[in-house]
Every structure is written in structure tokens, then in C-alpha cells.
């Protein structure tokens, strides 16, 4: 297990280093000087030079990369070109919307997909299976931002059960915060639940055809008992892979959904930064999102090993 963990840890570090180089390079190749952009065309050369020095733009590219990455490791993401405030503080304010939204959506995804996938697999070829498969086929095709608009039209405008946007904040209590995030989370979760239910069904059906299930059945277990006691645990490995990938989809998808529901999360921060050409903010938020996704995938890899001993024993 130690060898497996070390291997994954090295892979995690390499991924983070390459990701940071790619993101830094992509942003740094943009023509134009942020200091000149901030001060406008009539800026005096000495003011421009002072601002360039203050923002660290007079350093060489490797120096800036090193300063950026070491700063991030210490929680210093630099300063916004537009707002002149620390980016870390801007992120800290907004992460408490984006992260709970992604986690809430992931929970809903699992809560919907697991029963649907297990039900479809246990009713293979029957009406229930066909119904679930038809619904998931449709769910996969629905763009989450359009589904969000439909939810707003029905539940906010027509029925008035929820507000059409905005975030009540966590100060008003957990329930009030979750209520603000419910429609966005449902919009994010539905297409992902459709994908996960299909994977769950297919993985379970693969397991149900294995020899060990036949043995279990031969020993007197009913199909249902064999499914719950033996097939399910083994079917979880591909399901975990998809859940890991889905977390990144949900985090990234949240960027778009936050726009629809006017949620003050990282997505809105990115779009405000894009429209203001505040690329240092874009760079830092993207790096943070990539970091979270890579770390989640690392955790999922370790979970595989816990679920499937063959992986941790493999040389």
C-alpha cells in the first residue's frame, strides 16, 4: 500500500507542477502589459515603472513563476490588478459558495444514481430497466445550464417556492444556505446522475455475470442477496472513477450555473476577472480549481486501493 501511495503521490506532484507551468505559460503569452492596461494610455512612464515593480512585472518569467508558485504554497495568490486587494481574500469569500455547491450536487448525484442504477440492474430487460435507461439517455443529453433555466421558470417564477437567484449566506443557518443552493445543485446533478446511474448499472451487470456470483448463487443466495452482498462492492471501482471525474465536472459546471443563479462564487469571480482582463485572478482561480480536482483524483486513487486489494498489491 505504501509503494502504491508513494507512486500516486509522485504523480500528484508532477501533475501539479506541469499544470502550474501550463496555466502560467498560457496566461503569460498574452500580449499587453497589465500595468499599462490598469493606468490607461496617458500614464506617465515613471508611474508605469513603479506599478510594474509593485506588481512584480519587472521580474523575468522564471522569477515570476517561482514567486507565483511559492506564494500560492504560502496562501499568497498575489494582488488583483483591478481591485488592488489580495486574491486569497477574494477566493476565501467565494469558496464557501462554490465548494458546498459542488459537494451538494455530488451528494444529490449519488443519491439519485445509486438507487436508479441498482434498480435497473436488478430488473435487467424489464420495464423498470427500460424506464431508467430511457430517462438516463435523456438526462445525459440535457445541458445543465438549460435545465437550470427550466427549474427557475417552474420553481421560482411559476410556483415561487425558491428565489430565482442570489445566495442567502450561511449566517442565516445551514437550511437557508442549502435552500439557496438547491436549484443550482439539482441542475448540476441531474445530467451527472444520469451518467453515474448508467455506469452503476453496467458495472453491476458485469459483476453479476462473474464466476464468484455464480458460486454465491450455487451456495443458496438469492439474486438479490448476491447483488447486495458481493456484486455491489466489486462494482464500485468503476463507479468511484466516474465519481472522481464528476467532481471536476461539477466544480467546473458550477462556474456556468453560478452565472444563471447569480451566486457569488468562484465562477462569478472568474467572469468578472475575465471581463476586467484581470488575468492574475483568472490564473490563480483556475490553478486552485485544478489543484482541487487533482487532489480529489488522488484521493479517489487511494480509495480504489482500499476497495480493491489487487491494486495495492500490484507490483
Amino acid at each position: 500500500m505504501m509503494r502504491y501511495t508513494m507512486g500516486r503521490l509522485i504523480s500528484l506532484c508532477l501533475s501539479l507542477i506541469v499544470a502550474s507551468i501550463v496555466i502560467f505559460t498560457v496566461v503569460e503569452v498574452v500580449p499587453g502589459d497589465p500595468a499599462a492596461y490598469m493606468l490607461g494610455v496617458n500614464a506617465r512612464p515613471d508611474t508605469l515603472a513603479a506599478l510594474r515593480s509593485e506588481l512584480g512585472l519587472d521580474m523575468s518569467l522564471p522569477e515570476r513563476y517561482f514567486a507565483w508558485t511559492t506564494g500560492m504554497m504560502q496562501g499568497d495568490f498575489g494582488q488583483s490588478y483591478t481591485y488592488r486587494t489580495p486574491i486569497a481574500a477574494m477566493i476565501a469569500d467565494r469558496v464557501w459558495v462554490s465548494l458546498p455547491l459542488a459537494l451538494f450536487a455530488l451528494t444529490l448525484t449519488i443519491v439519485i444514481a445509486f438507487p436508479a442504477g441498482i434498480y435497473a440492474a436488478s430488473r435487467r430487460g424489464k420495464l423498470g430497466d427500460l424506464g431508467v435507461m430511457g430517462a438516463t439517455q435523456l438526462g445525459v443529453a440535457v445541458p445543465n445550464f438549460w435545465f437550470a433555466m427550466i427549474l427557475v421558470m417552474i420553481f421560482a417564477i411559476k410556483l415561487r417556492w425558491f428565489s430565482a437567484g442570489g445566495f442567502a449566506g450561511w449566517e442565516g443557518g445551514l437550511l437557508s444556505g442549502l435552500k439557496s443552493l438547491l436549484l443550482p445543485a439539482v441542475a448540476l446533478a441531474l445530467p451527472q446522475a444520469a451518467i453515474l446511474a448508467r455506469v452503476m448499472r453496467s458495472s453491476l451487470l458485469d459483476m453479476l455475470g462473474e464466476d464468484f456470483i455464480r458460486t454465491a448463487r450455487a451456495k443458496g443466495l438469492s439474486r438479490r442477496q448476491a447483488l447486495w452482498r458481493h456484486a455491489l462492492r466489486n462494482a464500485l471501482i468503476p463507479v468511484l472513477t466516474i465519481i472522481g471525474l464528476q467532481f471536476s465536472f461539477l466544480l467546473a459546471g458550477g462556474i456556468v450555473i453560478e452565472q444563471i443563479f447569480f451566486l457569488p462564487g468562484l465562477g462569478r469571480l472568474i467572469f468578472q476577472a475575465i471581463s476586467a482582463r484581470d488575468l492574475i485572478v483568472v490564473e490563480s482561480v483556475v490553478m486552485l480549481l485544478v489543484f482541487v480536482v487533482i487532489v480529489v483524483n488522488f484521493v479517489i486513487d487511494l480509495t480504489y486501493a482500499a476497495v480493491d486489494p489487487r491494486l495495492r498489491l500490484r507490483k
Binding site: 504523480s11 508532477l14 501533475s15 506541469v18 499544470a19 496555466i23 498560457v26 496566461v27 503569452v29 498574452v30 439517455q137 435523456l138 445525459v140 443529453a141 440535457v142 445541458p143 445550464f145 438549460w146 433555466m149 427550466i150 427557475v152 421558470m153 417564477i157 471536476s248 465536472f249 466544480l251 467546473a252 459546471g253 462556474i255 456556468v256 452565472q259 444563471i260 472568474i270 467572469f271 475575465i274 488575468l279 483568472v282 490564473e283 483556475v286 480549481l289 485544478v290 480536482v293 487533482i294 483524483n297
Partner: protein
């Protein structure tokens, strides 16, 4: 041979949209560049089958033009993915176990680790919004999909007798890859191509919706939805029409992909018959 039902339904839906897009090259019911404020937000009628938008433009014509944009972006993105991914996968399989194989596969793993939409947003934010940057952003994430699939399928052929015979006859690894392996995995690539094509349609719509995809005056489904957002309560059809177009097109492509897999995969075909 009976064709799978999903292939028939999916094929019909896909052809409907492809036909609409092709037709829009020569003809649309109305010119979408002519605005008619007096006839804005009309519900579907005999004059305007899918109604009109907030600027009085015919929604059917807009959908037809939007289909063209979606197909063009998704098709080119799949082209980038296949064009780079398949040769990389074939190379990795031909040099299996070598440093080159390791570098190609780890590179693929790395791209997979990135949240694609975030990077697509980064690329379009930095290099500017537009259809071309959307194509590149979506296409990059298709490369590892095709590379992995190609390598995995090609590997299973490298141990087969007919490949051994080709090697004994003195053919180089690259020639064997192109002449013998590629034709054998082409079916798989077609099936994966339809899946990536449908994902490309969704990605293009998302990027256009947030203003980073195709820019006006080019019509796009995502842009139509973005424009409809504030009007959905007074004229729901402006949000429903482009949304339904996306759903039906993606559904059609997914069903077609499933049907093609059933048709082209001999193992599934044997089970079915």
C-alpha cells in the same frame, strides 16, 4: 441484417439536424440578419413555426443557422482529437513499454486531470472569445480520449498472428499500424467519434452561453439561450426552442453511437442474434 432501433431513431434525429444545417447553407425560411421589432416574441404559428425572438427574428431560421455552428465546432474539435490522438495512440502501441509510450500516456493522464471546462474558459479568456478558440479548447480534450482508446485497442492486435506475419514479411511498425491496425480499429473510432461529437455540441453550447464561444452575428444555440434567459418568464418558447434543439441533437447522436456500437461490435452482434 436488422438494424438496431437506437441506430434508426438516433440516425433519423441526427440526419434531421444535419439536413437542416446543410439546407441553411442555401436557404432559411427568413433572413436572420433582418430584425423586425414589431413581430418580436411571437409564439409558434403558421408564419413562424417556432416563433420569433426578442428582435423579431424567426426562431426556426436561427435554429438552422445555430445547428451549422454547433456541427462545425464539434466536428472540427473531433477532427483535432482524432487527428492527433489516433496517431499518438498508434505510436504508443507500436512502441509499447518504451519511454515514448510512457511519455505519451502520462501526458494523456495529465490532460485528463484538468477540468476541461475550466481550461476551455482559460483559453478563450486569454486568447479571446470566438468559435476558433472554442474549437481548439474542446479539441484538446478529445486528444487523450482517442489516444487512450487507440492504444488500448491497437495493443490487442499487436499480439495477433496476422500482425506477426506482417512483421515477418519485413513491414515496419508504422506501416503495420497504418495498413493493418488502423482499419481494424476504425469502427471503434467511429463510435467514439459520435460520442465526442455530441459532447462537443454540449461544450460549444456551454461556451457560447457564457459568451466565450461563437460571437454575434454568428448564430449559436448557447447564445440564443443566453439571450433568452431574461425573457423566459414572458416568452418561454425563446428558451425552450434552442434548449430542445440541443437535447434532440445530442440524444440523436448518443443513440446513433449506441446503435453503431451494437452494429459494429461483433461480440454484441453475436449476443443479439
Amino acid at each position: 441484417m436488422r438494424l438496431p432501433r437506437s441506430l434508426l431513431i438516433g440516425g433519423f434525429l441526427s440526419l434531421l439536424f444535419l439536413g437542416g444545417a446543410a439546407l441553411s447553407l442555401f436557404w432559411t425560411p427568413y433572413d436572420i440578419e433582418i430584425l423586425s421589432i414589431s413581430s418580436r416574441l411571437q409564439t409558434p404559428s403558421a408564419m413562424h413555426w417556432l416563433g420569433t425572438d426578442q428582435l423579431g427574428r424567426d426562431m426556426l431560421s436561427m435554429v438552422m443557422m445555430g445547428t451549422r455552428t454547433s456541427i462545425a465546432v464539434a466536428l472540427l474539435a473531433v477532427g483535432i482529437g482524432m487527428g492527433l490522438g489516433v496517431p499518438l495512440g498508434l505510436l504508443a502501441a507500436a512502441r509499447r513499454g518504451s519511454l515514448l509510450d510512457e511519455v505519451i500516456m502520462r501526458g494523456n493522464d495529465l490532460i485528463f486531470a484538468f477540468p476541461s471546462l475550466v481550461i476551455a474558459i482559460l483559453i478563450t479568456a486569454v486568447f479571446g472569445a470566438g468559435a476558433m478558440n472554442a474549437i481548439i479548447a474542446i479539441g484538446i480534450f478529445n486528444v487523450p480520449v482517442f489516444a487512450r482508446l487507440t492504444r488500448g485497442s491497437a495493443l490487442s492486435f499487436w499480439s495477433r498472428d496476422f500482425i506477426l506475419a506482417a512483421r515477418v514479411s519485413g513491414k515496419s511498425a508504422s506501416r503495420i499500424s497504418v495498413e493493418h491496425i488502423l482499419p481494424n480499429i476504425a469502427n471503434l473510432m467511429i463510435v467514439q467519434g459520435t460520442i465526442q461529437f455530441s459532447l462537443g455540441i454540449l461544450a460549444e453550447a456551454a461556451l457560447s452561453y457564457i459568451g466565450l464561444g461563437a460571437q454575434p452575428p454568428i448564430a449559436s444555440w448557447g447564445r440564443m439561450l443566453a439571450d433568452a434567459q431574461t425573457l423566459a418568464s414572458i416568452a418561454p418558447h425563446v428558451a425552450l426552442v434552442p434548449g430542445m434543439a440541443i437535447v434532440l441533437m445530442v440524444l440523436g447522436l448518443n443513440l446513433m453511437g449506441d446503435g453503431l456500437r451494437d452494429l459494429l461490435d461483433p461480440r454484441i452482434r453475436v449476443t443479439r442474434t
